[in-house]
Amino acid sequence: MKITVNGVEHSFDGDLSMPALWYVRDELALSGSKFGCGTGLCGACTIHVDGEAVRGCLVSMQELDGKSVTTIEGLSADGNHPVQVAWRDQNVPQCGYCQAGQIMQAASLLKSNPKPSEQEILESMSGNICRCGCYQRIVSAVRQASTGA
């Protein structure tokens, strides 16, 4: 099978049931996507498949045949995607472990819904756990990335 990751095409002939998270981490050494639960409950592994946020620990290689995957490393060439900038402006992270997943989730939300309501932000972000408890700043950062304020 063929898969494009951050704009680079790869062929894969391993176990097709392998979740994409382990493919990008173990085979491509793209370690920005994190393992937090392995069962779709935390969002730390969030990647984009054809532009949409997907849990990397749930989606199998089989489902990604011919698809284009973006990981945090490929979100923007210079690391200045508006969501990344907002994240830095708001000093969001504590330990930082969940943040790649949070950013990928937020970027996907804003792509499909550039001006989400407060409620839509909370709902969209509620699949991503932050054990350090950065939610107040996460919400502010999504708002900033959306409205500039």
Partner: protein, 782 residues
Amino acid sequence: MLHQLQSFAESSNSTPGHTLQTALRKVATTEVNRRGLLKGATGFVLAAHFLPSAAQAFEAYPTQGLNMPNGVRNDPHIFVSIAPDGQVTIIAHRSEMGTGSRTSLPMIIADEMEADWDRVTIVQAEGDEPKYGNQDTDGSRSLRHHIQPCREIGAAVRKMLELAAARKWGVSEDMVEASGHQVTHKTLGTRIGYGDLAAAAMALDTPARDQLRFKTEQEFRYIGKGQVPIYDLHDITTGKAVYGADVNLPNMKFAIIARPPVVGATIKSVDDSAALAVPGVEKIVQIPVTPLGSKFKPLGGVAVIAKNTWAALQGRDALKIEWDRGEHGSFNTADYEKELRASVAQPGASVRNQGDTEAALKSAARILTYEYYQPHLAHAPMEPPAAVAAFKDGKCEVWAPVQSPYTARTDTAEYLGLKPEAVRMNVTLLGGGFGRKSKADFATEAAFLAKEIDGAVKVQWTREDDIRNGYSHTSSVERIDVGLDADNKVTAWRHRSAAPSFLSTFVKDEGNQHEIEIGMGLENLPYALPNVSAEQCKAYAHTRIGWYRSVSNIPRAFAVQSATAELAAELGKDQKDFLIEMIGPDRVLEAKASGLPGKFWNQYEPQEEFPFDTARLRAVAELAADKAGWGKTLPEGEGLGIAVHRSFVSYIAMVVHAKVEDGTVKVPEVHVAIDCGFPANPERIRSQMQGACVFGMATALHLGLTFENGEVQQGNFNDYEMVRADNFPEVVHTHIVPHPFSVHATGVGEPGVPPFIPALTNAIFNASGKRIRNLPIGDQLA
């Protein structure tokens, strides 16, 4: 707290592997008196703490840091280097788990040495305490113990740069001044950059402390300002930050381990044929099983080694292991809770006896009894334990997210039968720690497997492994009996605690708590009452116990602050007014007058320098109440609750606004008042308070481990539920009590959690009339 436990474990079970550490500890152990003079110290410590001259901006004061194993280092040659292009490299020797200490400590050095922050590179130290001094990143003490040495390092480097410039120009030192990454000739105005002075400056000996000029607080550029973002911010937001599992080595294998379902369970038989048949699985390795009381040794079990994580996971699923469940195989939480309740129904061992509490209770007109329960908890840091290790030519190198890298190194060396010099422990970023990663069993597992396969391997814990096989926070029952006289005046307060101790992780379990646990809110009730007693009642551990963010302060603050609010309600008084009344007149708590056999534990900090001052406790309670508009009218179903607690030598009060609706709680607002002495990095203090409220809310609402037949029933975030973006403390206002540097900086990472929980449950009571005595709240409001 690690080091006290180690000395405890070593004195009862001395091993040759610890000789070096013990010897070094003896050197570092000093006696300190209040003026900062040292008796019996050697080397740098003496140099660092000469009696300061009056001209200096800060007077040195002793902290427990001096008594930690391997003490404190303040030699600039160890921590700072300057490249010819002026780039300054500063070593971070404490682990970063989200509190910001990897940024804050180097920031203090940079400020005091007049370096530009954007020309500073931070390099993380490996585990090497003989070189860097103590590295145990726990107990909320990185800033508390290192703010002085960091200022000393910075001032020394600045002095060395000035000396080098003066020599170069052939003028006296007072003709030059360092500022903004360069040294200026005061009369000529000539300037020379730090890079050009680096070689000459760093070749100089470290100036004695009395030769140093410290900045005044007005001169601080970064300290106390909260304008410096965390060093790793860009890497974190671009996916480049490196955590435990992110290290990749050539030819590295991937390991997933099947650990005993019950602590101490032993392997009867293993059928690994199906596991070995999984494509990508290469090898099965057994790790010896250890019983309770094995410190941070791996639990043992069966490791599946494969060419990627996925294959290793499937291999583990395919293992067929028969376990002999062992002596803890019948541990059941429901029975255990009853046991703890029975334990506090009987007198325990006295830890505090002020006045005559028993007589006062006997003669009381009324006795009110309150009992509070908290289950075992798992730390569940967002990053489950993971480590990478490589073994080659009798040496092992490890990369791991560990809070105590030197202990991890020496423990690992001992486990492998190597000398500490043969193990290198590199510290990655920690994806959360909360105490879990003080216990580096996972790093030792990786090292052991690397040795077994004579190569490189990554050990990954799954979330289920993390929740089921960690080091549980103690479970406890806290019982408080309050005596009232005929006029409803409180005459007696007796607090009994039954909670299995983390001592059981180190030595044979005698059912007793350690002085650290007793010191966290059991022996130091700060209420102005005539008769106060505290007792610890027996409780035995059936799972590995380890400290969890805030440790025993969580159940203690929950019990004491809930009981105070319950009493207020009973007496028809306002919750806040009654709390202030109980705290009573402003005073410093005295151990003897409080009926303690010895000193207050006080986080091992010297009492003279870090007294328990009830004026500061009262002040934060009043500040939080004031800011929250205490007494305002709220709609039906809403309420404010207050709680205050001193821990990690900081004073924190919180007023939580709770909204109870359809059996669920929402927290629209929290007002936090924190007195942590001199606030060195207000921005990270605020982020820690926001985090503490979320951590407290998860603990209050959802978290609890239940054991059945010795096995943890929970496994992932579906049944061990975290607070999420759809319901979290929405706005946390943090009010920091301003202090000059002379009011010693104290803890920030942990002390926010304990007051949050009772402030929330007190708010729930005011909102709904429902009193929460058992954690977690779960569906109690339904």
